[in-house]
């Protein structure tokens, strides 16, 4: 499971990597999400303090961007492209299928184009982009993803 708390030392380290430059806020948040999966209220408070920004400012930025989840995600993250080129190749049907087959510890999210539109439909599984994803290939990718845990 993704931890419900995010280690403040780890956040401080990331802030340090960006020399605590307030203009790096989006980069810092992105790094935190990549490493920890989400942004907690405690992180918002900590960042406001360390970057000398108001909490409202940090909160506003977190709210604005789709990547900045404010809830801990599941063990795995599966994003199915919902944009036009993938729609033309059956992403709506694939999404319905996915809704039926993914389990609780997998977070299913929409994404709008993975730049893999010539190999549509496209899916991203734990950060890896897959192409020409039929329902069979989707199921195989889920199985491989779970297999990687054990």
């Amino acid at each position: 499971m993704t931890p419900r708390t995010i280690d403040s030392d780890a956040v401080a380290t990331i802030v340090g990597q960006y020399d605590a430059r307030p203009e790096m806020l989006v980069q810092i948040l992105q790094r935190i999400v990549q490493q920890h999966g989400w942004i907690s209220d405690a992180v918002i408070r900590q960042l406001a303090g360390e970057l000398n920004l108001s909490r409202a400012d940090v909160h506003g930025v977190v709210e604005y961007y789709h990547d900045f989840r404010t809830e801990p995600p599941g063990e795995h993250i599966v994003k199915i492209c919902q944009a036009e080129a993938c729609q033309a190749m059956g992403s709506r049907e694939l999404t319905e299928h996915a809704n039926r087959v993914v389990d609780q510890d997998t977070t299913l999210e929409p994404v709008y184009c993975l730049g893999n539109c010539a190999c549509a439909p496209a899916v991203m599984v734990d950060g890896h982009t897959l192409g020409r994803v039929s329902t069979e290939r989707f199921d195989a990718a889920l199985a491989a993803m779970r297999g990687a845990d054990s």
């Binding site: 430059r21 989006v26 036009e84 993975l114 539109c117 010539a118 190999c119």
Partner: protein, 517 residues
């Protein structure tokens, strides 16, 4: 036995269909056979439909094998793969694949050819020649060449690059910036990605030339977060260039300083709009700014900034090397040079096709794309991303020319061409256009923020047959308001795909509309 070069792309599409597994299998089989091979990770040539496309160097030629699966590899070796042996997957010399040899590769000529992350390979293939020439001829001459080329912005708006650069060069201020827009949010587009993955040093050189031309010593790349492989490749290329003295202070003893900072986006489409991108680069919400002031005068951190798309920038080195006239000799009317078209969606042979302007949509879809993937008739083609109109089959003879597209209420944008077959329900596509605007609106203007949500509701009512005529009129009115009163093209052009559906595919709005009816 001498070492044999085997090329396996490290490029998102190729990897997405198994290129890494193929590379592993090839290394294993070569080991078993006691053969000495060098695995070269290149970019994709752009024939995405043939990925994974691997090549083996035999004499002077590179023999291609297409749609290779890791399971095919033992059989390939048994068939003499390392000598270019005959096999079902064998396509022949890569230089003879019609899809590729008939292109006009001006900007993408190194993509696929070279090992993406090898600075040596880059230098062997004209790398940094144009930057050195720029230093020789001077900043003004570089801008003149770009003017003469007639290069226009490839990010979507088609603004003349030379004029933009001249404005930044002439602007007051000792600190100026280059901001490379690598947000590539439009569905159906991947040319920026392919360029960055296949020729990352080429982009670095291009940005340095831009910096030299306008007097900027710092460049930013704003890369969308949906491209993790691109991020890895760019990060490594920037480090390599810096270590070798091609970025940083006093580059190669020229006295010219230039460095690049790579930023990631965070899943916002509007952050591709240049002023929203600048806000995001400053660490803020990606809210669109009022213009004026133009970014060229007051851009990043209030300093003069040249914001350019990846492909725009990457078109410049050859303009410097070969002269602006060579570029402007290609293309038609005011659409000079080439565009890297991207064939996507329901198309048999999807991929990147760099061609001179003037080719028709039909030629691209039929001659390159080979028609639909499903084999069914083409119903609609969306060009220019989510804000682009849906063209009906009868408009496919329109030449790709910025002005010709404006005339039919469409736009070329970043050159993405998304094909739909006759099973598509265009009312659903119109609904999606509004929905996407509602999801992605930066919220600054009411027509965009509220109008799009209303648009979804109204379309739902039309589809379900509720007060159809009234709601139809309401939808047209909504489109008018969004078009007239939105600050940027997000709200201002979302009506384009919607109107095109109303105009050409109205039957899909029938209560049981669409092809299934």
């Amino acid at each position: 036995m001498s070492t044999i070069k085997v090329y396996v792309p490290r490029e998102t599409s190729s990897v997405s269909v198994g290129a890494n597994e193929v590379a592993v299998a090839i290394a294993r089989e070569a080991g078993n056979a006691g053969a000495s091979i060098e695995l070269v990770r290149n970019g994709s040539w752009g024939a995405s439909w043939l990925e994974p496309l691997v090549e083996v160097e035999v004499g002077e030629q590179r023999i291609a094998y297409g749609n290779v699966d890791a399971d095919d590899v033992p059989g390939l070796f048994a068939a003499g793969f390392l000598e270019g042996g005959e096999h079902d997957r064998r396509l022949g010399p890569v230089g003879e694949i019609p899809y590729l040899v008939t292109q006009d590769r001006w900007t993408f000529w190194r993509v696929g050819l070279v090992e993406s992350l090898s600075l040596d390979d880059f230098l062997l293939h004209q790398g940094f020649k144009a930057l050195q020439k720029a230093w020789e001829i001077g900043a003004d001459a570089v801008i003149d060449a770009v003017m003469e080329a007639g290069l226009r912005g490839r990010g979507g708006a088609g603004f003349p690059t030379g004029i933009k650069w001249r404005t930044v060069a002439d602007a007051e201020g000792d600190q100026k910036y280059i901001a490379c827009n690598a947000d590539e949010g439009d569905s159906g587009t991947f040319s920026d990605r392919m360029l960055m993955e296949g020729d990352p040093f080429g982009l670095i050189e291009s940005m340095a030339i831009a910096g030299f031309a306008v007097g900027a010593n710092k460049g930013y790349i704003y890369l969308r977060s949906e491209y993790p492989l691109t991020h890895m490749i760019l990060t490594r290329a920037i480090e390599t260039a810096r270590e070798a003295g091609w970025l940083g202070e006093n580059i190669q003893g020229s006295g010219f300083d230039f460095d690049i900072e790579l930023h990631l986006g965070a899943g916002s489409y509007v952050c591709g709009e240049e002023t929203a991108m600048l806000e995001s680069l400053e660490g803020k919400k990606g809210i669109v700014r009022y213009k004026p002031p133009l970014p060229a005068i007051e851009g990043l951190f209030g300093k003069p900034t040249a914001v350019n798309n990846v492909v725009t920038l990457a078109s410049v080195p050859n303009i410097v090397n070969l002269g602006g006239e060579r570029y402007s000799d290609m293309g038609v009317n005011r659409s000079k040079g080439t565009l890297a078209f991207q064939l996507a969606g329901n198309v048999k042979r999807g991929g990147l096709v760099e061609k001179s302007f003037g080719i028709t949509v039909r030629e691209l879809i039929e001659e390159y794309g080979g028609g639909t993937a499903s084999g069914r008739p083409v119903k609609a083609v969306q060009i220019g991303g989510p804000l682009g109109a849906y063209l009906p089959a009868e408009q496919l003879d329109t030449p790709l020319d910025y002005e010709a597209f404006i005339e039919i209420g469409a736009m070329i944008g970043h050159g993405g061409i998304v094909v739909f077959d006759d099973t598509a329900n265009m009312a659903q596509q119109a609904r999606f256009a509004m929905e996407f605007c509602a999801i992605e609106s930066c919220g600054k203007c009411t027509p965009c923020r509220i109008g799009s949500t209303r648009g979804v509701e109204v379309i739902d009512k039309i589809i379900s047959g509720e007060e159809r005529d009234e709601n139809y009129d309401l939808l047209v009115e909504l489109c008018d308001t969004m078009e007239d009163a939105s600050l940027c093209a997000m709200g201002g052009m979302t009506p384009y795909p919607v109107r095109s559906v109303l105009k050409y595919f109205a039957e899909d709005f029938a209560p049981s509309g669409g092809a299934e009816a």
